[in-house]
Symmetry: C2
Subunit: 464 residues, 2 copies
């Protein structure tokens, strides 16, 4: 068991940190998958080879007829050729000593061809190669600009995203390009013939680039292995999972999509609880929660809401309580200190409503006062930029940034659309999560607290 | 009672469809509220006067010393002067025969000055003027480019938005400027000293520009009047409400914010049910649901999910069931017709997963087949643009548009971020709601079905 894990680790190292990558089925013709992948890999910070017996020097990349012709060791091979030719090519990869293969091509178990998929696994395992797929959109490791997929390049960040659906992976990559969400690694698992969730979770648990792991699951193959790997992983790193197939129609669709048995939703719920996995209900929740783990873990659930907008502050308070946080009543010392620095009409209970007239000095002072209050475990700032005052659009963001102690978890919400785009950027570059709505911010902060509870429980005693 | 309604109607007509508007406290100095409002009103499609005894011809707008000096009738006066001077100015408005006043200034009941607020109401009522506010960010009627607020101009559309919080109103206006959400009318209700939800709901029930009404509520003043007006309104038009103050901290904050008694959340829940109001849980839900009413009402809850993306299709199915829709199993006739037009690996149950290779012809044919199936009450299309195929980015949007019969409710979800911005625009300009996630699309379609049920129940029998 221990040896297996070591072996997996080495194989997955070849997958995520290759020195040389070969694209088998690379093509100079647009609309070919082998074109898209090679194009994306041109940014890769390593050696790249195209493999195609019919073309030469595709897009200026050195091109050979078969993988065996490559004059150096090959760590990773991306395969985009018709299903029928793949066994033969896999043998060549094995003989060449390739560490990991990603098979993009479809036409295996998802279309009923289970035997031919088993053959792939047999060959890969005979040579000790890790196999991702088949029927995947690819793999990415943003730390080394490795985009071995036919999707757009995602932003660099600290979330590892494992998706059982290629289309959902694609949707998330496109969606996040213009948002403040970045990824360390991305794997489209495809049919999971060989490498599945357990192996990847075990690997990612000790991956320095990854602070949280987001999963899209249709159905796991080996429930016990999944729970074992996940339980071990959540001791050091949070896992957030979106599991589809909770409805009758969804189950039916999952079964015809990846051939997964979606299984009983309650069973997944129980398994997730057992393994300390946080369950997301929607795609947005999955990403909102995953990105909050830039922050340190809070030691309790007492949150202070700092806002310049009455209504949004109330909605934030409602949402905080809904997600298990306590909008703590401020003590006399803190309220009197806040009163001294905030406008006279400000509400200094909690939410702390500074009213629209409060600018840099007020916010800079207020965040420090809240951080110094030992009854405050985390701060949620909700800002509607008052465009009709003298206050600049990024004033609140700057004050929060300058006043922040980098320890107290600080989650922000800027609600004025494009007017606050720069504020959001400012937050992101300094590791402070920013959300477009108070409900999303509260949901994320709730996840941070939930995981903190799990983490402290499982790291304070040494048993297990 | 009937007379009151008629009277309200006339007063609110002056508010929403003025021929002449006066800005009292207009100013040429930036950072003044009176500057922002006058600037916004310059686009107004009618006659505009600035009132300021100390300045002349502000921003090129004819300027007088007081409202009585305006040489024509004045329908609407916007007041942005210190609280102390307002009673005197209100008297002048009354004598001038102004129909409606919007008092932007704060410093009344929200800061404990209940008496001075009562005085405003006394004066307004003596002259038969409608009074909005005080302590409001203003009013807008996009049909005549009337932005009598100090907020950004919102998009034209068919949602009337009534917000008890000015800041939340501001946040929504900023947020929606770059989204496919447009408004017919916007009212920031402020302290609701005179005009509140009941009068506005009664007016909007017969407003031709408005197809749905979105409310942000902290606490209503007269519960019975609210339910009476809302119940009458929902017979012809849907109301969607976001009610804050469901939590202990939220209640506390609401009470200090607008002095509202947030009340017991269960009581609001029951009142909303009684009046046929759909309750939103978040700001996004409020807007997502409100904008779906561009569509005709479905006759049942059977939905067909048409998608080119397996995983997102399953999530859509889960969400549809969650929101009370039935992902109906397709009959043999429809499945065999779909099989003929879709790629061989397509799944023709429901969700109908066309796979990524399906383009214009497939989508054009599929939507028509679904529309012709009498067991399909509504269609949800979920698209992830396959950028790696020959298929153009807007192909699916065009095919859906060309194949749509304009009757069957069609809700769409384009999941590829900016890549699909043009598709989303295309949908919006043709009255087809588009959402960024399948969960949001399903939530909106659920609201459409819920209201359809209410509508049909209350319009098939003539009893009250």
């Amino acid at each position: 068991m221990w040896c297996d894990t070591m072996e997996d680790d080495k194989r997955l190292q070849a997958l995520f940190y290759p020195k040389t990558v070969a694209v088998i089925g690379a093509s100079g013709r647009r609309t070919k998958i082998g074109y898209e992948v090679l194009k994306n890999l041109k940014r890769f910070n390593g050696t790249l080879y195209a493999v195609n017996p019919h073309e030469t020097a595709i897009m200026g990349v050195p091109t050979v007829g078969e993988v065996g012709d490559i004059p150096c060791d090959v760590d990773l091979a991306i395969i985009a050729i018709p299903a029928a030719y793949i066994p033969q090519v896999l043998e060549q990869c094995g003989k060449k000593g390739v560490g990991a293969v990603v098979i993009l091509s479809a036409g295996f178990s998802e279309s009923g061809n289970r035997d031919s998929e088993e053959l792939l696994v047999e060959i890969a395992s005979r040579y000790g190669m890790a196999l991702i797929g088949p029927n995947t959109v690819g793999v990415a490791n943003n730390a080394i600009d490795l985009n071995a997929s036919f999707l757009v390049q995602s932003k660099r960040g600290s979330i590892a995203f494992l998706s059982q659906s290629g289309a959902l992976g694609a949707a998330v990559m496109y969606k996040t390009v213009y948002e403040d969400i970045g990824f360390s690694k991305f794997v489209s698992l495809g049919n999971m013939a060989d490498i599945g969730f357990p192996e990847l979770l075990t690997y990612l648990a000790s991956d320095d680039e990854t602070k949280s792991i987001a999963l899209y699951i249709e159905g796991v193959k080996d429930g016990k292995a999944f729970i074992r790997a996940a339980s071990s992983c959540t001791r050091t790193k949070p896992i957030i999972a979106l599991k589809s197939g909770s409805s009758t129609a969804g189950k039916r669709a999952a079964s015809s999509h990846t051939g997964s048995m979606a299984g009983d939703d309650e069973i997944y719920d129980a398994a997730f609880r057992q393994a300390g996995i946080i369950r997301a209900k929607t795609i947005d929740e999955l990403l909102d929660m995953a990105k909050v783990f830039e922050l340190e873990l809070p030691s309790g659930n007492n949150v202070a809401i700092l806002t310049n907008a009455g209504g949004p502050g109330i909605l934030a308070a409602d949402a905080c309580e809904h997600y298990g946080l306590n909008v703590v009543r401020m003590g006399a010392d803190t309220t009197s200190r806040l009163q001294k620095v905030l406008p006279s009409y400000a509400a200094v209970g909690n939410p702390i409503d500074t009213i629209a007239q409060a600018g840099y000095n007020e916010y800079f002072a207020a965040i420090q006062i809240l951080q110094e209050d030992p009854s405050v475990d985390a701060i949620l700032a909700v800002i509607v930029v008052p465009t009709f005052t003298r206050i600049g659009y990024n004033t609140h963001a700057k004050a929060l940034l300058d006043g922040w102690n980098h320890k107290t978890p600080l989650v922000t919400c800027f609600m004025s659309g494009d007017v606050t785009a720069t504020s959001v950027d400012l937050m992101r570059t300094h590791g402070i999560p920013a959300y477009p709505s108070p409900e999303q911010a509260a949901c994320a902060l709730g996840a941070l607290y939930n995981y903190a509870t799990w983490y402290h429980e499982h790291n304070s005693n040494s048993q297990d």
